[in-house]
């Protein structure tokens, strides 16, 4: 198992290197003179050349890449061109906030998504099942930004129950912190809950019809034990795979949701960076986001391996 994990980690590392090269390459295509952007349009030729030399923009690209990559290993994510401050601190702060959002969202997606799926499967073809079905169908067809706007229209504008955006530090007010998280989390989770519950439902249905479930029932085991210990355990496998893919959607969704709710997290920082064509900041944000994505995929893979006895034993046999 350990060998497997270390092999995967090494692989991820290679992928990250390749991704960083790709990110670096693409962002370097950005037209427009970086130095001129900092100094403004009235800057003279000499001061532009001076700044270019200072920033090392005249060095060959591989050298610039190596400088950037080396900096990352030392925890230096670069220096924001537009805001003139080191990126690492900004990014960490934004990341913490996005992490809160992601954590809550993931929790609810898992609990409610799987829960709904199980209920729908168990009460197949009942009204409950149909309601859940319709709800999930809408959930996967509607984009997050639309949900977000509808929620704002309903809960913030019309009813005035919840704030329409922004963020309150937990240290400033615990209640405020929670309240400001409700709508963004709800928006993020809706689509994913729909996705996860649909999948859980169909794999639960399959599991419920399988041989060992029938055997367990024949043995006279109480229904609850059959459900949880036998059916659910196996239904969870494809669910975990989908959860892993959904983490990808979560990352993408975070960018959109943070924009709609003015939530000051990593996603909104990235959009700021793109809006101002702040190269180092764009590179750093995308690198961090994709690294997180790769690691969460690895984690999902490991979970999958753990829960899937076939794979686990095949591993042992190696």
């Amino acid at each position: 198992m350990l060998i497997y994990i270390s092999k995967r980690l090494a692989y991820i590392f290679l992928i990250l290197v390749a991704m960083s090269i790709l990110i670096f390459a693409i962002t370097q295509i950005l037209p427009g003179n970086v130095a001129q952007m900092i100094l403004g349009q009235f800057a003279s030729e000499e001061s532009i050349k001076l700044l270019e030399a200072k920033l090392g923009l005249n060095d060959p690209l591989p050298v610039q890449y190596w400088r950037w990559a080396r900096g990352i290993f030392h925890g230096d994510l670069g220096h924001s061109l537009v805001m003139d401050r080191p990126i690492a601190a900004m990014l960490k702060q934004a990341f913490m906030r996005s992490a809160v959002l992601a954590f809550f969202s993931f929790f609810f997606v898992t609990v409610i998504g799987i829960g709904l799926g199980v209920i729908a499967a168990v009460r197949k073809n009942s009204p409950t099942d149909h309601i859940v079905s319709v709800f999930t169908y809408f959930g996967i067809s509607v984009p997050e930004f639309f949900w977000g706007i509808v929620f704002i229209m309903l809960f913030a504008s019309y009813l005035g129950w919840l704030p329409s955006g922004q963020y309150v530090e937990m240290t400033e007010s615990f209640r405020g912190w929670l309240v400001h998280l409700i709508l963004p989390v709800a928006t993020l989770t809706l689509t994913l809950i729909a996705h996860v519950s649909r999948l859980t439902r169909s794999s639960m249905l399959e599991a419920l019809q399988s041989q060992y479930v029938r055997a367990a029932r024949a043995k006279g085991l109480p229904e609850r034990v059959v459900l949880v210990r036998h059916a659910l355990r196996n239904a969870l496998l494809p669910t975990i795979t989908i959860l892993a893919i959904d983490v990808g959607w979560l990352f993408g969704g975070i960018v959109v949701v943070e924009t709609v709710f003015s939530f000051p997290g990593l996603g909104r920082l990235l959009i700021f960076a793109i809006g101002r064509q702040d190269l180092p900041l764009i590179q750093a944000c995308i690198l961090v986001i994709t690294a997180l994505y790769s690691f969460s995929n690895l984690f999902a893979d490991l979970l999958y391996t753990y829960f899937n006895p076939r794979v686990r034993y095949a591993r042992k046999a190696e």
Binding site: I15, P143, G252, I286
Partner: protein
Amino acid sequence: MRVKPSEKKEISNPKRMCRRIPVSLMIGGLLAVLIVLMALAAPWISPFPYDEFHVKDRIQPPNATYWFGTDEFGRDVLSRVLVGSRVSLFMGIVATAISLILGVPLGLLAGYHRGSVDEIIMRLTDILMSFPPVILGLLILAVTPPNIIKTAAAVGAVYVPVLVRLTRSVTLGLIEEEYILAAKARGERAIYIMAAEILPNAWPPIIVEASLRVTFAILLAAALSFLGLGAQPPSSDWGLMISQGRSYIDTGPWIALFPGLAMCITVIGVNLMGDGLRELLDPRMKHR
């Protein structure tokens, strides 16, 4: 996944096929066809040009003249939604076409040749798949002034790996079939085998996947337009309309609502059609 001769006949027999068409396909297909027709006919059936100002009637709720109300310039929201369907569908279809054109041949190559070609293609798709979809789109569009074509291309690029993998696995499944081995023994060129023997049998799951991809592509393109990296004003692309309607949520919620509803209906329709297609083309395939 080999199509048995008897099944082949069944599909080409319309009467037998009609009995097998699932309800979802009919409803979904109908919706999808309606929407496509609407998109094509938009310039003629819209009551007003999509960019025509009626400043005295700005930000009016739905009424007899303007069925969906008007926006901040007094433009008719109904006309804009109708014309916007062209942009959204265009981006979704072009993006899917791009991912098919690039992905299918690569998948065929990978599945047919195996070995180092396979390894290289797989590693490349691995790298691309390591990016969450929206992020990859943002990365590509961050470097250049955006427009519809570039956005469609970016979305297409995002979904190439999916098509590559699918085509590859289908190809792998077919490669040991007798007629492929026979063609190889005959000395046919690889390109011929891939195009004429493998592809015709591989297309059912690819088509199903492509229909799913269209909805993802429409949604992703709309998200990118919403973030400002897609269609530009005064285009009435749905994502852009929703983004610009945000400023008027309290004074004119219909400006953002109607394009959103239109998007939902389109996506639901195409999803239903995809579901139905899946049921029709391979009832043995497990439900996703």
